[in-house]
Symmetry: C2
Subunit: 208 residues, 2 copies
């Protein structure tokens, strides 16, 4: 389904990359950046970067380049990152609890406000200032807590069932760490470690 | 750089997805599969799937479909997964140690054979049957142990330095969990949680 903003999906994915580069530039005290600097960082062409940034309207000046903070703000706006997204972690085993302690999750408009686990031993524990609740309380807490996104980190065999509960509870998007494909009618972004390793193995075999 | 096998990169990425679907089909006892079943699973067109699989030579029969085990074997061959890849985990903090305990890493041709951490407190501990070694032993162990790939899970500020050590030690590809872009001349596959969340937020905003 094409986004109503009219920005094509591949462009959105690249804008997300450019944002990371702008954050690095800002952190290093570089307040302007050229399209060719951005392009070089990712191995894209200059024309590609200029075309992508063109989707955001007028953002740079010829011969001067882009103001990093202004451009970052424009990208965040286009990507709907100029707001806070409340997150629930579902499954607080090894991966889930590691994510709760991951400092980058705290920044950047994403806030972990709830955590759930089916294991009664884990319920009641506190991880990174968030209490782990029993899975039965999911619907109640998600509905009451204005939680939009969920990180699903349960074993593969439970993933589909829990995902359906998340949809019923009103969750609008899922970041899926379970190594399975979810059949739900909300956006799902998979984090597929096996696939990333496979891509790496292929590249090592073919590029070297 | 185009792979010498002549399979375009986007096709390789999709083949990796198809492989997951074939594994699911096998697990469910379905021994043949049609291109349209695969296509439906990912929202691709039937023609796209047939074109991708066409890169592997003759793999299916009209009206019958593809034999799942035969097709999976062909894909694994094309992706260089028909061998064992030895892996080192570098950084055994929350993310690194979670990966070491991740059961899927054990299967599928990837084997964690070494782990390293700069923290002297962690060195000597055993995680999932692998001893964590001090970072100083990296070069020696990688060179001696026929280790091809590394999973980099160190804090962002150390990532570039450690990555350079990995290259010197003979590592040929890096799966990078550090939220930073590495400047090295070997293939790097980033696992970018922030980017995945940003894509999810964008899709939730635009599709719903």
């Amino acid at each position: 389904m094409p986004p109503p903003t009219g920005i094509p999906r591949p462009t959105v994915q690249r804008l997300s990359l450019y944002l990371r580069e702008l954050d690095i530039a800002e952190a290093e005290g570089r307040h302007t950046i050229s399209s060719s600097t951005i392009a070089r960082a990712f191995g894209f062409t200059d024309a590609q970067v200029r075309r992508d940034l063109g989707c955001l309207g007028q953002t740079g000046r010829p011969g001067v380049g882009y103001q990093t903070d202004f451009l970052a703000k424009r990208i965040r706006g286009a990507l709907s990152l100029d707001r806070t997204w409340n997150l629930a972690i579902v499954g607080t085993g090894k991966i889930g609890s590691a994510l709760m302690r991951y400092p980058r999750f705290a920044g950047g408009g994403f806030k972990i406000v709830a955590a759930f686990d089916a294991d009664p031993e884990l319920a009641g524990t506190i991880i990174a200032d968030v209490e782990v609740l029993p899975l039965e309380r999911l619907t109640e807490v998600v509905s009451a807590g204005d939680i939009q996104l969920a990180v699903l980190a349960v074993p593969a065999e439970y993933a589909q069932g829990v995902a359906e509960n998340l949809v019923s509870a009103g969750i609008r998007g899922i970041l899926n760490f379970a190594p399975t494909r979810l059949k739900v009618n909300i956006p799902v972004e998979p984090i597929d470690l096996s696939r990333a390793l496979e891509q790496l193995a292929f590249r090592v075999s073919s590029e070297t």
